[in-house]
Assembly symmetry: C2
Homo-oligomer: 275 residues x 2
């Protein structure tokens, strides 16, 4: 998907919501467990209920991989389902891959060619040749981990070099030599407070994929205030707060209600911060 299409979708829907499809088999509504593929059934219902309010879906591969072959099937079928029924919605494989050049090529081929997603999250630790194979696909996106939402983000992402530049800033700056704001985004956690604006300073035009709103405690208003740009430049993810809004037979309806609430807030924030 091109950047202009993503931006248009955001303004058409008045939402920059990304729904995280992280279906933990132990948390699925009981009545789904006797279906042939409970994860796939769960995802389809969540997608149908939230699609009016979402511009992106982000299946986290761990939740599929842990179910073995059945899980991979559910992942691939979920991508197909979104692609066919909601072709305007951006699909992110949250895989956090990162490996040497020839292996990175295999991962890029898997996610972009075989699975057909729009974007893959990539870990930057190993540097240029672990990232660039993902950047070679036209209209596909690489979403690089920069400043993540978890506690451990202080351990290495915040290491300061001799000039006071932190690792997450170095990651953003250096990677903008390899890609550009039309094929490269950054993960910046909503839990990072004012640091979000430090990330924005080094990536003034780039989209940010922002996890950590909701269950992890980040504030949507703060994220918009600190990092929204004229083309929005944000995809804010919510997983658990939406997909587990109810564990009963009304799980999909409840997910729709939560997604709608977030999208309404987002609409207001677009008016407020996006000139």
């Amino acid at each position: 998907m091109k950047r202009t299409d993503l931006v248009n979708n955001i303004f058409n829907k008045q939402s920059f919501l990304c729904v995280g499809l992280d279906p933990d088999i132990n948390k699925l509504p009981k009545h789904l467990l006797d279906k042939e593929n409970p994860i796939l059934e769960f995802n389809k219902a969540i997608i149908d209920a939230t699609a009016p309010y979402a511009v992106a879906y982000k299946p986290n591969i761990a939740f599929y991989e842990c179910e073995g072959i059945k899980g991979w099937e559910a992942f691939e079928e979920t991508v197909k389902y979104i692609r066919e029924k909601y072709p305007d919605i951006f699909i992110i494989a949250d895989a956090k891959r990162g490996d040497i050049g020839n292996t990175a090529k295999m991962y890029a081929r898997t996610f972009f060619e075989h699975c057909g997603v729009d974007a893959v999250t990539v870990a930057p630790y190993m540097g240029e040749d672990s990232v660039t194979p993902f950047l070679e696909y036209p209209d596909k996106w690489t979403i690089l981990l920069a400043l993540t939402s978890n506690k451990g983000s202080v351990d290495f992402e915040m290491i300061e070099d001799k000039n006071g530049h932190r690792v997450f800033e170095r990651v953003i700056k250096r990677s903008l030599r390899w890609g550009s704001p039309v094929n490269l985004m950054y993960v910046v956690g909503a839990t990072q407070g004012e640091l979000i604006s430090d990330a924005r300073k080094v990536a003034p035009r780039s989209f940010m994929l922002v996890p950590g709103v909701g269950a992890q405690g980040g504030s949507l208003e703060e994220v918009a205030r600190l990092a929204m740009i004229d083309e929005c430049g944000l995809l804010v993810n919510s997983s658990r707060g939406i997909i587990y809004a109810s564990s009963g037979e009304d799980f999909a309806e409840a997910a729709g209600v939560e997604a709608k609430k977030l999208a309404e807030q987002m609409g207001e924030l677009l008016v407020k911060y996006c000139k």
Copy 2:
């Protein structure tokens, strides 16, 4: 597997060879392509030919994932095959995973419980909570990326902090608070020359998984000279140099010959550097 068992296997076999099982479908011998699962057939033959000389196998998950469901089957069956036929051999899932705590738990469960491997490679970028879920399994190992063998390793792994400590050294030092030399190893590339001894200084007792000998150009002798310790402390990986030694019907035999050559050198190095 316990560290004492790994060390015993190394001294019994007089080898610290890890064979990388990275089967690229485009490089497999032609006569295997009409088998039901060519990757699995290829792996089995390579394993039978190299098992007398290897103490570890390292399937790189990318090469399986890119074949979809068929690939996952091949990976799981390969692990089972090694486990049943060669129970003393250490199995590493080269997955380079790294995600927030609850997701890292899913990955740990997948590889340790579902697949039953001994070790998983993990990317350190996201810090403590992305690593510790892997460390909670008794007799299982976490192999953290420290100083990798690829060109891009200079981009972020070599960033120096204000005290002159580089990111790869900080990763090793900090992670030794989370795990210990009985459940934590480090990836240190054979292509890094004298830097290997800098990694050894901060991890004096830890095992190192060393890729980059062979196709990537690193020297086995140099690695042993710079980083071997009294309990060996090294697993040196070779993938392409062994598994693609021949593309004909004699591919397994040729792989065995290459593995034997490396193991013989390793035996000499154990005598020379391991007191």
